[in-house]
């Protein structure tokens, strides 16, 4: 019997890697993506040709369109989102609409179509805000300082109520800074492009002391895999991140070393935050996830190397 899952945002960075895994595992994967977040169907191409996936260019806020997809799904992996913290500050209404209302719409789809399982891509880097405990466990109060973080936290609140009211099994993954091949976003991508343009100078957003944990895409997908296998009745939430936090300037040094360039002059923009709404210290506690047998395998320097190999040829 065909096993069907739905992946929203399946053309994006994390989503497309997840689709690869699910196809490998024998699922027929239906992808919904509106291709607005600088994405294409390129990473899906092979799966579409081999008839292991199908694609709908739908907006996740359109419940009628979602309901019209003629499939019964075992589960939804909901990754579609407006992904940019800065944009969420500049255009709160659009971010609210896609990230909060969009997730609410996915939950309504589950309720109306009787889909029982949801894996939600939440955010470990933004929902806690400026934390009082480090590493930060999942029970830490949620005090987002960006609308992106507010939306991811708000969406979790509905995951909690829908799970309880309509007997849905839901896991929220509070993802840290995920990096690796196919990513066109984030500090490493930013540094790569700046240094490619001008290898003598590097502008670092903020004072460079922002300290965050970064997780390689393979380790992230393995977390999705383990968590989906272990999904239980009710609602639960897991930090998915590295257990090591790194300073932004150290990332810069690592990249400069890898590129083999020398005498790069750093310049800094003002303030402890890289941008409005940026959390300057992010170190989620991943003990809960590791208890399920998950271990991050790719070191930061190796991960950056693998990522940059992809960037060089992309």
């Amino acid at each position: 019997m065909e096993k069907n899952v739905l992946v929203t945002g399946g053309c994006g960075f994390i989503g497309s890697h997840l689709v690869d895994l699910l196809v490998d595992q024998g699922f027929f994967v239906t992808v919904v993506d509106d291709l607005t977040a600088n994405t294409t169907t390129d990473f899906l191409k092979k799966h579409l040709e081999e008839n292991k996936a199908s694609f709908y260019k739908y907006d996740i806020r359109n419940l009628d369109l979602l309901l019209s997809i003629p499939k019964e799904f075992e589960a939804i992996f909901h990754l579609a989102a407006q992904p940019d913290v800065k944009k969420s500050v500049e255009n709160p209404e659009y971010d609210f609409s896609v990230n909060t209302m969009g997730t609410f719409t996915i939950l309504e789809l589950m309720r109306k179509k009787d889909i029982r399982k949801l894996v939600f891509a939440g955010s470990g880097g933004t929902v806690y805000g400026d934390t009082t405990t480090s590493p930060t466990p999942e029970v830490h109060p949620l005090r987002p300082i960006s609308n992106y973080g507010a939306a991811k936290a708000a969406a979790e609140m509905y995951c909690s109520s829908y799970s309880s009211l309509y007997n849905l099994d839901i896991i929220s993954l509070r993802l840290g800074n995920i990096y690796g091949p196919r990513s066109k976003h984030g500090v490493m991508y930013d540094f790569y492009h700046k240094l490619k343009t001008n290898p003598k100078e590097l502008e670092i957003l903020g004072d460079g002391n922002q300290t965050k944990s970064y997780l390689y895409i393979e380790d992230t997908i393995e977390a999705f895999n383990i968590l989906y296998q272990s999904i239980k009745s009710g609602y639960d939430v897991f930090n998915v991140s590295s257990d090591i936090a790194i300073k932004v300037v150290d990332i810069a040094d690592e990249i400069i070393k890898l590129l083999g360039i020398k005498n790069v002059k750093f310049s800094f923009t003002e303030g402890k935050r890289g941008w409005k709404g940026d959390v300057s210290f992010v170190s989620p506690d991943v003990t809960k996830l590791m208890k399920l047998g998950w271990v991050p395998r790719v070191s930061l320097s190796n991960g950056i190397k693998l990522y940059f190999e992809w960037l060089f040829q992309a």
Copy 2:
């Protein structure tokens, strides 16, 4: 100089008492209420006649209408809401629209009109869900089990981000079960009407062991008063409730004693919850609020007496 505040939901139970206080304190109060939650402008009448308040029958989801009100406000007290947990379970979309998107719209109003202070009527009885700690402090994880609770928690997430991003001073009051004159909602109101119709039998929703804390309206309004006086920069959240939790059957006994009726036969509906989404044990920790000098003054038996005096003549 005229001091102006905006009260949303100012025709409702808690809102109208708050308007009374604010008018007493010399504010000119602009009330926005769409009169859908079984309310009228009756409680405003005197203030409107004395030109101490104005009224707009506007829907809080309509930002353009809100922006058109020709006043500069020192603060907003946001109490407008779809108030019914049961309805939020039956019609999630409407509840989401009014309670989550409605609060988001109020925050957008503040951002666009440069209004600096917000007092938000959150919910202490629903945002925590089934708690692991009792009494429950504000830092307890939010795991709502009703869409009403999810909406109130989601709204708080945006209060947090908007406060940080746009320099707004915001306090969220996580209100417990508030009762007293003008309330047409809740277990006491329900028991009153059932016993008036049939004083020999009382149907109690759930198994009667649901245990919750109830706060009299005067003590609630005093909490609004103290918290508004003490509002600081940033975002903060306070439980506002009684420090004593009472079983639903004990409420029934108290009311029966007060009414002087005897031999009332109790019947129960099944399950530990009164209805889908009902939290069966609610006991918020009010230590944080009491540190600001707030003390609840009206005992439960006295409060019920005062409430029922109003119900008899209403």
